[in-house]
């Protein structure tokens, strides 16, 4: 029989050995070394790849590292603290972004697993993505931002220059205006991740755009601003100059560290309350003009076609919206009794004033509790105590924002926008979501309005 002390020594020795392996493994978050050199080596000796150490995290959920699980974690030391590390989540957590299967993964979107989220912040690694030419890889040391057009003084800034300006931080949601586009004419997706997962909240840090534009000086007659990304799509959108000067900013930080590559590293234009697409990622250029540029995205794509054949253009603001994230689609209630109904509410026009919840399919509404902080243009967490009696029912939530706007039913929205095809007008679906609860506790996505 092995004495406990030997067991401990063996375990520690194994952990130290495992850590050394991870530090040589470019796929591991513990990797210490030159990834580029590794890449070159591996290209030069592709055949030798099989001889390299296998990633210790081969079987781990994405973003986690697997460790041995002792029978009682209080009876044996845990794994040692590395001298340098980048923390990972627990090996028992498995939530991932999931991609909507568009024809090509280069122009596609992935959705946040809202059903698993708590609080209001979206973990950076789970923030939804929407890119039109893949995720650009940009060396910040070589990145420049150009400001030109109808300005008195054109400027070119390095990332170092931009970080010298006075900065601001803001908790803010970003939502793709295509969020829910499959749900106009009939319920299509099974989970809240796929019905609502194109919205996420982060704390963003950067320079006010007004500071940058004032540095260059707007020429007389300046009315619009073109923002261009440095990705393969060279994404461009025109922004009214009043909005640009009011509250836009150039973010280089997200949740306390540099902005993630898929969110636009090293620089993203933040346009508070406006559709995700106009928050240009990998920002490289700002051109001031007297007219909108009428780019592809603001003419042929992010416009809302109505049944009369006319399309609404520059519909930038994301209207008030909410969704119950638990219980939600594909969950099963464990019999009658107490449940905390919880979800998220948000509005592009300001703060959430109130969220109402209905547990009887919209016949009666009662006020949900809002978790502080309740911030303008930010996800707001609501909670509602509910005792399920075991009968079939429909759960709904309704957001009222600080302007008094009340989140519409799908019937109200369709009464105004119509249904021009199965996708309706595609963008800006902010209607009340319905979750059906069956007698067996199964929760499903339904239309009930």
């Amino acid at each position: 029989m092995t004495r406990p002390v030997d067991d401990l020594d063996l375990r520690l020795a194994r952990e130290v050995r495992d850590l050394a392996v991870k530090q040589r493994d470019p796929a591991s978050p513990y990797f210490r070394g030159d990834r580029r050199r590794f890449m070159l080596q591996s290209v030069a000796a592709a055949g030798a790849l099989a001889a390299l150490p296998r990633p210790a995290s081969a079987q781990a959920p994405l973003g986690a590292t697997v460790h041995d699980v002792p029978p009682d974690a209080s009876k044996t030391p845990g794994y040692p603290l590395a001298d340098e590390s980048y923390g990972t989540r627990s090996q028992f957590e498995t939530e991932v972004r999931r991609r909507f299967k568009t024809a090509t993964p280069l122009s596609s979107w992935t959705m946040t697993p809202l059903e698993a989220g708590v609080g209001i912040v979206t973990p950076s690694g789970l923030h939804f993505e929407r890119s039109h030419g893949g995720t650009a890889v940009i060396d910040p040391a070589k990145h420049s931002l150009y400001v030109h057009g109808m300005v008195d003084e054109p400027r070119k800034y390095s990332m170092k220059d931009l970080r010298r300006f006075p900065s601001i931080s803001r908790m803010m949601f970003v939502e793709c205006s295509g969020n829910g586009l499959t749900e106009w004419s009939k319920p299509t997706m099974r989970t809240v991740q796929f019905t609502h997962g194109l919205t996420s909240t982060s704390e963003w840090t950067g320079v006010p755009l007004s500071t940058i534009l004032n540095e260059s000086g707007l020429a007389h007659g300046a009315k619009w601003l073109l923002a261009e990304g440095g990705d393969a799509a060279a994404m461009t959108r025109s922004i009214p100059i009043d909005k640009a000067m009011k509250d836009c900013f150039l973010a280089y930080g997200q949740n306390g560290e540099a902005i993630r590559p898929e969110q636009g590293y090293p620089l993203r234009l933040m346009v508070p309350g406006c559709e995700g697409n106009i928050n240009i990622k990998w920002l490289r250029r700002l051109e001031v003009s007297d007219a909108p540029f009428m780019t592809r995205e603001e003419t042929s794509k992010y416009t809302d076609l109505l049944p009369d054949g006319k399309a609404v253009q520059f519909s930038l603001v994301m209207e008030a919206k909410s969704v119950i994230t638990s219980p939600s689609g594909e969950m099963t209630l464990d019999g009658p009794g107490f449940y905390e109904i919880t979800g998220l509410a948000w509005s592009g026009r300001g703060a959430v004033r109130r969220v109402d919840v209905s547990t009887d399919g919209g016949r009666t509404w009662r006020r949900a509790a809002l978790q502080s902080p309740v911030l303008p243009i930010c996800h707001t967490r609501f909670r509602f105590a509910w005792k399920w009696d075991g009968d079939e029912t429909v759960l709904q939530s309704r957001c009222v924002d600080e302007t008094g706007y009340v989140q519409p039913t799908l019937g109200q929205l369709i009464a105004v926008r119509g249904l021009n095809g199965p996708l309706g007008s595609i963008y800006h679906l902010n209607a009340i979501q319905s979750w059906h609860v069956a007698r067996d506790g199964k929760v499903t996505n339904v239309h009930h309005y």
């Binding site: 004032n214 009428m294 592809r296 199965p422 009930h448």
Partner: protein, 202 residues
Amino acid sequence: MSTITEIALAVAAAALATHAVAADMHATAYDFGTRPSEAELGHFVSPLPDGRGLPQGSGSVLEGKSVYQQQCASCHGEKLQGGIGDRLIGGRGTLVNDDPTKAPVKTVESYWPYATTLFDYIKRAMPMAAPGSLADNQVYALTAYILSQANIVSDDAIMSADTLPKVEMPNRDGFIPDHRPEHFPPVSRTPHQTLAISPAAK
């Protein structure tokens, strides 16, 4: 005097000094960064609908057909009917529609309001695997070819900074400004529906 006030005064004095030095230029408060050269800015193309910003050069329908077949057809289809990439032509008359089962066909021909957008988008973002690789003449030629296949310009059209902004797109007047926030009718007067998710849907 508080330290904060002293700092504020010092900053103000520094800003005034900058003014004095650069009296003939726009006054930058911080003076970070540099002034980019015309050549640097010349790399960027973003034309306006009236043609400002379009580069020199031109291209014909015939030249465009050849470029299209080499660079575009694999994604957008031999007959511009779409594939991995968007359908480019057809669809006129499908935009007026309130049938939830019938999708409108939104293409360059039926939906795009400005021809300059076509040049801008191809120049910046196409072909998908090698964006920015086409010469201006090739982009003008492609623009001419797509517009001719869409029956918007004739087969002998030449597209250039002069001709492209003059092309009248069929859906030029198809767009209206944002009128939101919308005012909704009472729930009692709107459509009512109860629909379950289809068992086959994933």
